[in-house]
Symmetry: C2
Subunit: 257 residues, 2 copies
DNA sequence: CTGCTCAGCTTGTTGGTACAAGCTGATGCA
DNA sequence: TGCATCAGCTTGTACCAACAAGCTGAGCAG
């Protein structure tokens, strides 16, 4: 007989009931005091069980309101379609993506110059501490924080393309602007990782407990060397990244059905 | 004056000290009772703070031992190089990948036939509930659980390629076996998501609290239709997925330096 | 009818206690 | 020497109590 601790039993029962649909997304769970009676446990024990489910990302709590079952409609991000010359700019892709989903995009933007961290310098193949230009974007969908995007450009590149270091949008898109100045991006290397958010990330993305962030690092290359590095953070529960590789005519043919 | 709750202060101070390097990866934190004295807080409060750091994936605890700062060496997974005819089988890629990193691969394997879930049926473009063959792999590196991989084949495909439904490896690789029977995989569609593990996943991957899983769903297509769907789960803290897109000669040229 | 206050619900924070259970090293016996 | 035991550390589980703070609806004052 493998006796589980009581707080785990509480979590297990509630988890199964949520999976069953007894508590559909958006529904409120019974209050802590009700659960105390139901499971004949102290408040702390019930809270321990509930906090397990919170950290699994299944439910969330708010003071005064109670515990609510989270819903998760995911947003699809087609990463293999971004940033070619015909469909040039990240910002554009974001705007069209969001707008075509019938939602409202909104972003804040800033530019700064700072020494490259080891991580960035490594990817840009420059010496750590070298100055780099950071173009930073904080994106919202329907006023809900969606992603942060930090793009770093090495200083040698900025010397010949000074508008990168100026605040404000580059209307034609950075990729096109660079191409016009002889810097053509011909390939990129993507890295995708997941982890729990830092407090800073949790604040920017308004992430509650139990929600990981997706980290997407894209390093763009010209034929000669790396020209930029973009680090994007997403809420893991609301986003999914897609890559199309090879011939997918079979997929797109059947899609409209 | 924005007074943070005491347990958050505890977490913030320790988090900064960990980031500072006061407690390097592998080091043990002071015990709960020491922290009680240092922060003049009750044991519950200290534990609350520590559990925050645990759920951020920064530290882990074990009964009798204490709290330890986690290290995270990541394993790189080049997803855009898998599964073409020259380098055919997932299993092969895993074995060579792991062996070339100087580590020891080990896997368990099983085959079963079961009705397709909605998720699988949708991707394989068959009716939900149709029979599908599941080939399931549980992979270890140096006896540490690394990933679970479930590949589903639609029954119409299995009819013409019966070895898929038989237990035991297909030596030449499933991709090559299928190609020999006229089913050529010409493209695939990848979806990558992150979330907190289910208890089942946490058990299989021996994941502690605060570690998300990376979910990699790859649907393979012939020129006509989807032929398989592979769902792989990884420990998010130990793995990173890579995609190479376009021309990356600049990257590989400089790599050996 | 409008708008405010407040009782009464909810969860959040902090303190306390007690015992269970896992680990380690010292002690002491054979 | 070698092995078993156990004291004394660690975290894990479970209980209790009290007050803070956020939310909602009832009910009262204007």
């Amino acid at each position: 007989m493998n006796k589980q601790p009581k707080y785990r039993q509480v979590a297990d029962v509630l988890r199964r009931e949520i999976a069953n649909g007894d508590f559909p997304p958006g529904a409120r769970l019974p209050s802590e005091s009700e659960l105390q009676q139901r499971f004949d446990a102290s408040r702390n024990t019930v809270r321990n069980g509930l906090s397990l489910l919170v950290s699994e990302g299944l439910i969330s709590s708010s003071q005064g309101l109670g515990y609510e079952v989270k819903s998760h409609e995911v947003f699809e991000l087609n990463a293999s379609k971004f940033e070619n010359l015909n469909f040039p700019q990240n910002g554009d892709a974001y705007n069209t993506n969001v707008t075509s989903a019938g939602r409202r995009p909104h972003q804040t933007f800033r530019v700064e110059m700072l020494p490259a961290s080891e991580e960035i310098a490594d990817r840009l193949k420059v010496t750590a501490g070298t100055k780099a230009v950071l173009r930073f974007c904080h994106r919202y969908v329907d006023d809900v924080p969606w992603s942060t995007q930090a793009t770093y450009y090495p200083s040698w590149l900025v010397d010949g393309s000074p508008r990168l270091a100026e605040p404000g949008d580059i209307e034609e898109g950075t990729t096109r602007y660079l191409a016009a100045r002889g810097i053509e991006q011909v390939g990129y290397f993507d890295e995708i990782a997941a982890r729990m958010p830092t407090p800073e990330e949790a604040r920017l993305l308004e992430i509650g407990a139990g929600v990981p962030v997706l980290l997407w690092t894209r390093t763009g290359y010209s034929a000669e060397r790396p020209i930029r590095c973009t680090i994007t953070t997403f809420r893991g529960d609301l986003n999914r990244m897609n890559y199309e590789i090879g011939d997918l005519t079979a997929r797109s043919e059947n899609e409209p059905q």
